[in-house]
Amino acid sequence: MAEVKVNGISIKGISAAIPKNEVFNADYIHLSEKEKSRIIRTIGINSRREAPSNVTAGDLCEAAASKLLETLGWEKEEISILVLVTQTPDYITPCTATVLQDRLGLPTSCLAFDINLGCSAYPYGLSVVMSMLNSMPGGKGLLLVGDKSSHLVSSEDKSTALIFSDAGSATAIENDGKGHGIVFQGYSDGSGAASLIVKGGGCKYPVNEESLNKFTVSEGITRHELNLEMNGLNIYNFSIKQVVPTIKSFLEDLEITVEQVDYFIFHQANKIINSSMQKMLRIKDEQMVLSLDKFGNTSSASIPVTIVDQLGDRITKDSSVLLLSGFGVGLSWGNALIRTDSLPYIPIIEV
């Protein structure tokens, strides 16, 4: 098992940005009313956000980062790390992080790179930035995570179209010698890669003249090769069989109980998965933080979006113990324990 433990590093603030364009699942036209209402009840998602064609994941992260830097009053010259975790970069190359280094006005002495992860992005990203800052006393870094999943999803695929949503986020991290840092455990199982995948468009299956030809997989599922495809049953089994036991063992390793965690913030997969995980781990409703109903599954950004939207005004005053679990595409998953200390309240930003 891979474990990262870092002390003396603090999270100074978290912000999130979503597109203004709100889409309601009740308005979905490709299903009967009955099937639609059953799906909405099962996935627990009523509305989602879809970015217009001229707004990217990079734009959403930039908006979140600008507001965060303004709120904290950080000098841009002080920032030495910029990491973006996304699966929907602005370009195939270069990485979006270097583009954002310039657009955010950060110095050229700031290192910047992308990480390609989705549902597990936030705990992985925190562990990477905190590990790097660990050798930079006084150092400051920004972790951006965000995705424009609407770019990948077929509107005629009932298995994905009603679930995924767009968002970006920014987290300010500082080696102040005082913070509680992070304990992180990460896992991978590539044997399940095909359970959540965009097959076409990379080097394995390059774009060709047939890439955009639509095909019907089964009733209600029509897509092309550049769309995201998901086997919901496999993802459910993965979450229960592989992720839940690692959260249990993580708590045991930390020698803490479920009751000692203030809030559990899991990747917002869908209600049927998150509810089963909650039941198996015996997490109380008031500890389980959800934003699924109004923001859907925002992929990489789902954990920070949920923190900002649901805990934003609750974690401003006191110190809170947060257990994060990101799991999904890869298959990749990671669990992290962090402690927030009187974070500034930054309401979610609409772009």
Binding site: R38, K158, L233, K241
Partner: protein, 79 residues
């Protein structure tokens, strides 16, 4: 748990799709018009949440009737 109560519990999920559905132990549930990938997911989650048994997609492929599903759940619980 017995076959009768198990059948009644599972029938709830099928009757939600179509209230005229008449579910019994010998019903070949995957042949029902209402059978879908969503219903498969709901069924798997119900069995996990209420009986503590996690079945996979390949398990479902080998099961045809409600009684076979019951037998699988009973066998998995005793493993």
């Amino acid at each position: 748990m017995d076959l009768k109560t198990f059948t009644a519990r599972v029938a709830v999920e099928f009757e939600f799709e179509n209230e005229d559905t008449n579910i019994g132990p010998s019903t070949e549930f995957k042949q029902l018009e209402s059978w879908s990938s969503m219903l498969a997911l709901i069924l798997i989650a119900t069995l996990n949440d209420e009986y503590g048994v996690l079945l996979s997609e390949s398990d479902l492929k080998t099961i045809e009737t409600i009684e076979q599903l019951y037998d699988k759940v009973v066998a998995s619980k005793s493993d």
